[in-house]
């Protein structure tokens, strides 16, 4: 098997799918890219058994064949080459692969393509078309709140519900929760699934910067995405997602509306003085007045700031992990946010004041107990 390809085109396409190749895979064959040549099309597959990414590249050939090529070795080689056409000569008996460039020759020992795991086929799934920008926003708005606790696998992914009216993306680690809804993604019938965090991270990083249509298809066990010349198939998490709607408190009489950036900056300063393991900060609210404070008893450090805000409700004090608040506020882009609170031991909701018509963002964070409340 033999083909000629531009070194930079190949590098770009391989880099797009390389994220799925793990450095220490369960089976060694997964350290390779699977190359499949048919006519002038080279199909490259990378897999970690959970997620498979495939890209197609136009090459100059007239040949047919397949080979598994060590991913790291090949990428390192390509990164070091100046842009030029390079020739691959593959001996399909020995799996020896030779790359010929203007600079010289490189011999890699490939592996038998038969050993590469089969890609799950997606047929009779439910299909949805969505814009890559919407998808990227939905992912970045939720993925930070997923859990890393493998003992609760359902929470290590993002729960996606696509209905006839809108699509809802939910992530939670039990301490905070994000519910992100968009009315510009919909489907002819209701479907829901939990998509793994790793797959979504990969998807996000290879979605194109210019907006384009992403075709998605879902079966009971896999999600399938395709855009440009990239396809991705990922195994869904086969678990029941927690009943998140019931976790969102509905009766929150105390509301605090504040400039997001001011609060974020204040929290960043105050949190420097908070306890290093709990990152606890104290929010004290009285009519139109917010004070944020923290203390670290171990080092006798303390800090306190007062901020202008609009506060309606009973005077109250509530503790939060500053990291969670900072993460939530940094992930929002609006000018002002509203905190909806009920009691120092109940979840607080954070809702952007300015939202696009098609968007509905709700973030929730559980408090940290203060000693004044027992």
């Amino acid at each position: 098997m033999k083909f000629v390809v531009s070194s930079s085109v190949l590098l770009k396409q391989l880099s797009a799918i390389n994220g799925v190749v793990s450095t220490n895979p369960i089976v060694p064959i997964l350290e390779n890219f699977l190359f499949k040549l048919e006519g002038n099309t080279l199909t490259v597959t990378a897999s970690d058994l959970q997620t498979v990414m495939i890209t197609e590249i136009e090459v100059e050939a007239g040949d047919k064949g397949a080979i598994a090529v060590p991913a790291k070795l090949l990428l390192d080689t390509l990164r070091g080459l100046p842009e030029q056409p390079i020739t691959f000569n593959v001996d399909e008996e020995t799996f020896g692969t030779e790359i010929v460039s203007d600079n010289g020759r490189y011999k890699l020992s490939g592996e038998n393509p038969i050993d590469f795991p089969k890609t799950p086929s997606v047929n009779r799934g439910q299909s949805v078309e969505l814009s890559s920008a919407s998808l990227a926003t939905a992912i970045s708005n939720t993925i930070f709140a997923t859990s890393t606790d493998d003992l609760r696998p359902a929470m290590t992914g993002v729960f996606v519900q696509i209905g006839t009216e809108n699509a809802t993306f939910v992530a939670t680690d039990g301490h905070r929760l994000v519910r992100y809804r968009r009315s510009d993604i919909k489907s002819s019938s209701d479907t829901s699934m939990i998509i793994q965090r790793k797959a979504l991270n990969l998807l996000k990083s290879c979605l194109p910067s210019e907006d384009m249509v992403v075709k998605a298809e879902f079966t009971s066990s896999n999600a399938f995405f395709s855009f440009g010349n990239i396809r991705m198939i990922c195994r869904l998490i086969d678990e029941r997602f927690p009943d998140y709607e019931n976790a969102i408190p509905t009766n929150n009489p105390n509301t605090l509306t504040i400039n997001r950036a001011e609060m974020l900056n204040s929290l960043k300063r105050i949190s420097i003085y908070s306890n290093r393991t709990t990152h606890q900060v104290r929010l004290k609210m009285t009519l139109n007045d917010l004070s944020i404070s923290a203390e670290d008893l171990d080092y006798s450090n303390e800090a306190n700031e007062r901020l202008m805000c609009e506060y309606n409700g009973d005077d109250m004090e509530i503790g939060f992990n500053a990291k969670f608040l900072i993460e939530i506020l940094s992930n929002l882009t609006c000018k002002n946010v509203t905190f909806e609170l009920s009691a120092p031991n109940r979840a607080g909701l954070i809702i952007p004041v300015e939202q696009e018509d098609y968007e509905d963002i709700l973030m929730l964070v559980m408090p940290v107990m203060l000693n004044t409340y027992a």
Binding site: L151, T172, M369
Partner: protein
Amino acid sequence: MEAGPDKEYSRKIIHIDMDAFFASVEQRDNPELRGKPVAVGGGSERGVVAAASYEARRYGVRSAMSSRIAKRKCPHLIFVKHRFEVYKYVSGQIREIFAEYTPLIEPLSLDEAYLDVTENLKGMRSATHIAQEIKYKIKKATSLTASAGVSYNKFLAKLASDHRKPDGLFVVKPGEGEAFVANLPVEQFHGIGRVTAERMHQLGIRTGLDLRAQTEDFLRKHFGKAGGHYYKISRGQDDRPVEPDRVRKSVGSENTFERDLETLAEMQLGLAPLIDDVWKWCERTRIFGRTVTVKIKLNDFQNLTRSRSSLLPIKDYAFIEQMAYDLLEENFPTPRPVRLLGVSISNLEDTQPYEGKQLTLNF
């Protein structure tokens, strides 16, 4: 907190208790077991009954009874292996139903919980209606029955749920608590165990009425701090709140072995999965303890418990493992072969001041 009558009657508490939970689940899933005396638990000579069906209870089979005694009381008793995964799933189903009504849920075990429905998510005024709805929904979702007790505090709600079991619903209305308690034998009171009940009997206290006749000083003298609690409950008073984040005091895992263990290697092998269980819990909840306890039950049922404490919460698996193995080794050779081993962690970090505890969503 001094509870005046208004304050005393201001809450609406429901206690829900599934009827013969594990056994009912087994009878539900296996029609052949229906109407028959069933015990969930190890059927082997060494096992313990984890739960008994009502048919088995008629023969005097009770949970925590050794399988051998249970078999003697009811020779045609059918033993089935527990399926904790299924019980946990059902438990999740009923908690979801509770959560439709209130976030103030205090689970006591997989099949039992207190609910404070004073302020409820449905805005319903009648706690009795809520209890009826919950019972109906549990039946619909799980095909199992539950008993409910409704009252103005936890103590009475729990007594009430016991009053009309199975599939019962009993309400102790404001003002009725004292009279309700008066007629009941003290051993039915939650918090009065076998030993305390015996001591009370010796003092001539048999019913709620007898208990109420005692002064608080007298009860405190004989029962210490708990005496104050007994004084209150004999009047139907209990101001303990329903606590959704009930603080655990310890976490442990134990195992009765098929065959008595004699060598150190066997015991270490038996201990390893128990340490694993306990550690997984610590990791998951991020609650760590300062004390490691190893329990060794000998084949004459004598218990040896040995513990060791660290100054700081132990946040390292290897450390717990080391402490547990040390405790085991220091007691080796044991005076007799070993029937059961257990590992537990106590002095949990959360029993320290509550300050700084990150609260978790109730999933």
